[in-house]
C-alpha cells in the first residue's frame, strides 16, 4: 500500500492507513459474506431440488412397477409447477429410457451415480426409484442454472455495494479523525517553520486537544517562551554592555584627562621651582611648592574618590533597616559648620525607613546635602528640604534647594563622571556619579527635577521596602541584573 501510494506527509500516511484498512476489512467481510451466501444458496438449492426429485421418484414407483410409461409421463408433467426445472426423465434399472418430459426441447440427460451434477450449464439431480427394496429405476431432473446464477450475481453485487458503502463511510469517518490527528502536528511544524524563518520567538502554536500532542504543544510553547525571554535579556544586556563600554571609554578618557591636569601643574611648577631656586627667589619657591602641594592633594582626593566609586559595586555590606529621618538629622549635625558658613536652613521632614546598605545610603545623602549647600545657597531663599514618602511600592527621597537651578540639558550629564557645571567650583565631579551608582546597585535610580531660577530637587528611589529584596551581591559584575533592576525602577 505504502509502496503503491508514496505519502510524503504524516497526514497522507494516515489517510492511506485509514482508507487501506477500511478497504481490506470491508473486502474481507464482502468475501466472507459472498461465501456464506453461496453456501447457503447451494444448501438451499440442493435441498430443494433433492426433495422435489424425491417426490417425483415416489410418484414414479407405480408407473415403473406397472410398466406404464404414459402414467410416468403424467408424473413427469408435474415439473411444470416447478419454475426452474427444464426437463425430467425416468429410466429403467438398466438405464433404458422409460418416460421423458422436456418442454424446452433439450437433449436427454442420462442418469448418473452422483446425486447431483452440473452438465451443459444445467443442474442435474438423479434420484433412484426404490420401492419395497426393489430398484425400479431412476429419475433425472434437470434445472436451469440461469436463475441460480442470477441470484449469485445479485448476492455478489449486493456484497460489493455493501463493502463499498462501508469503505466510503469508514473513509469519511477516518478522514475526519485523520484531520483531527494531523492538525496539531501541522500546526506545530508550521509554527516551528515560521519561527525558524523569521526568528520571531513570540509566536505560539495553537493547542487543540489535551492529548500527547497537546502536551507537546505546551512544552514547545514553553520552550519558545524561554528562548524569547532569554533573547530579550540578551538584547537588553547587549545594549547595557554597549553603554557600559562607552561609559568605560569615557571614564578612561576623563580619568586620564582629570588626572593629567594636576600632573601638568606639578611638572610646570617643578620647572619653575628649579629656576626659582637657581635664581634664589625664596618667595617664588614657596609659592611653587604651595601649588605643587595643592595639585598633589587634589590628585590624592581624585584617586580616593575614584577608589570609593569602584568600591560601591565591589564592597558590599549587609542591608539593614535604616531610620532615614534619624540618619539625615545626624548628617545635618555633622555638617552644621558648613551650613552655618553658607547661611542655609536645612529642614528634615519625617521620612519612611528603608532596608539598604547603610554606609552607601549615608554617602548618598552626604553628597546630595553637600551639593545643595555648595550650589543651592546662592539666592535669597537658602532653605534646603530633605523628605521622602512611599508611592507605588517604591520609597522616594528628595533633597530640595532654592538655588539657581539647573538647565534641563544638563540633567543627564551631571550624573556622569567628572561633570561639573561650574568649572571653578570645588569638588571632583564624582559625587553625583556615586549617588547614581549607589541607587542603581540597590535596584533604584537617581534623577533631578529643576529649571533655571527655581531651585533643584534631587530624587533617589529605592524599590519596595516591605519586600525581602536582596541587596545586590556582586552588583558591579552583573550588568544584566542592573538592567533588570533599572527596568523595574
Amino acid at each position: 500500500m505504502m509502496a503503491l501510494l508514496p505519502a510524503r506527509t504524516f497526514r497522507g500516511k494516515l489517510r492511506i492507513l485509514v482508507i487501506g484498512s477500511c478497504l481490506i476489512s470491508s473486502l474481507s467481510v464482502a468475501v466472507v459474506l459472498i461465501f456464506a451466501f453461496y453456501r447457503e444458496l447451494e444448501q438451499n438449492v440442493t435441498g430443494e431440488y433433492s426433495s422435489e426429485a424425491q417426490i417425483l421418484s415416489m410418484a414414479s414407483e407405480a408407473p415403473l412397477r406397472f410398466k406404464d410409461p404414459a402414467a410416468g409421463l403424467e408424473t413427469l408433467r408435474t415439473i411444470d409447477a416447478l419454475p426452474v426445472a427444464v426437463g425430467a426423465w425416468i429410466y429403467t434399472p438398466d438405464d433404458k429410457l422409460f418416460a421423458k418430459y422436456e418442454p424446452k426441447n433439450i437433449p436427454d440427460v442420462e442418469p448418473s451415480r452422483e446425486r447431483t451434477r452440473i452438465e451443459n450449464g444445467r443442474y442435474v439431480v438423479t434420484h433412484p426409484v426404490i420401492q419395497d427394496n426393489d430398484m425400479l429405476g431412476s429419475l433425472v431432473v434437470a434445472y436451469d442454472m440461469a436463475p441460480l446464477r442470477q441470484r449469485l450475481r445479485y448476492m455478489v453485487a449486493l456484497s460489493a455495494i455493501l463493502a463499498m458503502l462501508a469503505t466510503l463511510l469508514a473513509a469519511a469517518l477516518g478522514y475526519r479523525l485523520q484531520k483531527r490527528l494531523a492538525r496539531p502536528l501541522s500546526e506545530l511544524s508550521g509554527t516551528a517553520r515560521q519561527v525558524a524563518n523569521t526568528g520571531n520567538y513570540s509566536l505560539r502554536a495553537a493547542k487543540f486537544e489535551p492529548d500527547e500532542f497537546g502536551e507537546f504543544t505546551d512544552r514547545f510553547n514553553k520552550m519558545l517562551g524561554t528562548i524569547e525571554r532569554q533573547n530579550h535579556q540578551l538584547t537588553v544586556t547587549n545594549e547595557e554592555l554597549r553603554q557600559k563600554n562607552a561609559e568605560m571609554e569615557q571614564f578612561t578618557y576623563t580619568v586620564s584627562h582629570d588626572l593629567k591636569n594636576p600632573i601638568v601643574t606639578i611638572k610646570g611648577f617643578l620647572g619653575m621651582l628649579r629656576e626659582d631656586i637657581a635664581a634664589g627667589r625664596q618667595e617664588d619657591v614657596e609659592d611653587s611648592i604651595a601649588h605643587i602641594t595643592r595639585a598633589a592633594n587634589r590628585m590624592t582626593q581624585l584617586i580616593n574618590e575614584l577608589l570609593e566609586l569602584s568600591r560601591i559595586g565591589r564592597v558590599v555590606h549587609e542591608p539593614q533597616r535604616i531610620d532615614m529621618t534619624k540618619m539625615v538629622r545626624e548628617l545635618k549635625a555633622e555638617m552644621s559648620e558648613q551650613i552655618a558658613n553658607c547661611g542655609a536652613e536645612v529642614v528634615v521632614e519625617d521620612m519612611p525607613p528603608v532596608t539598604a546598605d547603610a554606609t552607601r545610603v549615608r554617602q548618598v545623602f552626604d553628597n546630595l546635602l553637600g551639593n545643595a549647600l555648595k550650589y543651592g545657597c546662592a539666592g535669597e531663599d537658602r532653605t534646603v528640604t530633605v523628605g521622602g514618602f512611599v508611592r507605588g511600592g517604591e520609597v522616594r527621597y528628595f533633597v530640595r534647594d532654592r538655588g539657581p537651578g539647573i538647565d534641563p540639558k544638563y540633567h543627564q550629564r551631571i550624573f556622569g563622571l567628572f561633570q561639573r557645571l561650574d568649572a571653578g567650583a570645588e569638588g571632583t565631579g564624582i559625587g553625583l556619579a556615586i549617588v547614581s551608582r549607589i541607587a542603581e546597585t540597590h535596584g533604584g535610580r537617581a534623577w533631578v527635577e529643576s529649571s533655571p531660577g527655581n531651585g533643584a530637587t534631587f530624587w533617589v528611589l529605592f524599590p519596595d521596602d516591605t519586600g525581602n529584596r536582596q541587596h545586590r551581591g556582586t552588583g558591579a559584575g552583573s550588568p544584566a541584573h542592573d538592567a533588570l533592576s533599572a527596568g523595574r525602577g
Binding site: R65, F66, T92, M135
Partner: protein
C-alpha cells in the same frame, strides 16, 4: 438381484408372442403370456397393498394368494413369485376349488378362504362371484377378477385388457370396507376408481 430377475422374467413374458408366432401351439402360448402378465400385475398391486394390523402372526409370515378357476395362472404365478417378497414376506400361491352354484357354498367358501390375503377369481367363475364375495365378507382379502363389471358390482380390483395392455378398475369403498389399503400411487394408474366420495 431379485429385481433384475423379476424384470427379466417380465421381459421374457413380453417377448413370448414372437416365439408364439414361430410355434404351432401359438394359441396356447398366447394364453401363457397373458397369464404371466396377469400374474405380474397381481404381484405388483400386492406391492402397493397394506393389510390391517394383526392380519399376520409374525413379521415373516407369508402372504397367501388364492386362485379360483385358472390352474395355469396359479402355476405360472407360483413360479413368478417363488423367490419374491412383499415387504419382506414370501408369497404362497394356491389353487382353490370354485364354490357350488346352488347358494349353499357360502359357508364352505368362507372356511376355505380363511388364512388367505388375496384372491383371484377367473372370468369363467363369474357364476360364483357373488358367493365368493359374500364369503369374503369384509375380511382383509384383496379380491381380483377379470370378470366384466367386477369392480362396479362390489369387487375390489377388476383386470381388463385395452389395446393389448393390461388395465384395471378399482372399487375404493370395497377395499376400505375390508380394512385394506391400496396405495394411491397405484390407484392413480387405474382406468377407473369406483366407490369414491361423490361417485356411485
Amino acid at each position: 438381484m431379485t429385481t433384475r430377475r423379476h424384470i427379466l422374467l417380465l421381459l421374457l413374458a413380453a417377448m413370448l408372442p414372437a416365439f408364439a408366432c414361430a410355434t404351432p401351439a401359438a394359441a396356447q402360448d398366447e394364453g401363457e403370456r397373458l397369464r404371466a402378465v396377469k400374474a405380474a400385475f397381481i404381484f405388483n398391486l400386492l406391492k402397493f397393498t397394506t393389510w390391517p394390523e394383526g392380519t399376520f402372526t409374525s413379521a415373516e409370515a407369508p402372504i397367501r394368494v388364492a386362485i379360483i378357476g385358472d390352474g395355469d395362472l396359479a402355476r405360472i404365478m407360483a413360479a413368478l413369485v417363488r423367490s419374491q417378497t412383499v415387504n419382506g414376506r414370501p408369497l404362497i400361491v394356491e389353487r382353490l376349488a370354485s364354490p357350488p352354484h346352488n347358494g349353499n357354498g357360502i359357508e364352505p367358501m368362507r372356511r376355505a378362504l380363511s388364512g388367505f390375503h388375496a384372491v383371484f377369481i377367473d372370468d369363467g367363475q363369474r357364476e360364483g362371484i357373488a358367493t365368493i364375495l359374500r364369503a369374503i365378507d369384509d375380511r382383509p382379502i384383496l379380491a381380483f377378477s377379470d370378470a366384466e363389471h367386477f369392480a362396479v358390482n362390489g369387487g375390489m380390483i377388476e383386470i381388463a385388457w385395452s389395446g393389448g395392455r393390461i388395465v384395471f378398475e378399482a372399487n375404493l369403498r370395497s377395499i376400505q370396507q375390508s380394512g385394506l389399503t391400496v396405495s394411491s400411487k397405484a390407484l392413480k394408474l387405474a382406468r377407473k376408481v369406483h366407490g369414491q366420495e361423490g361417485s356411485p
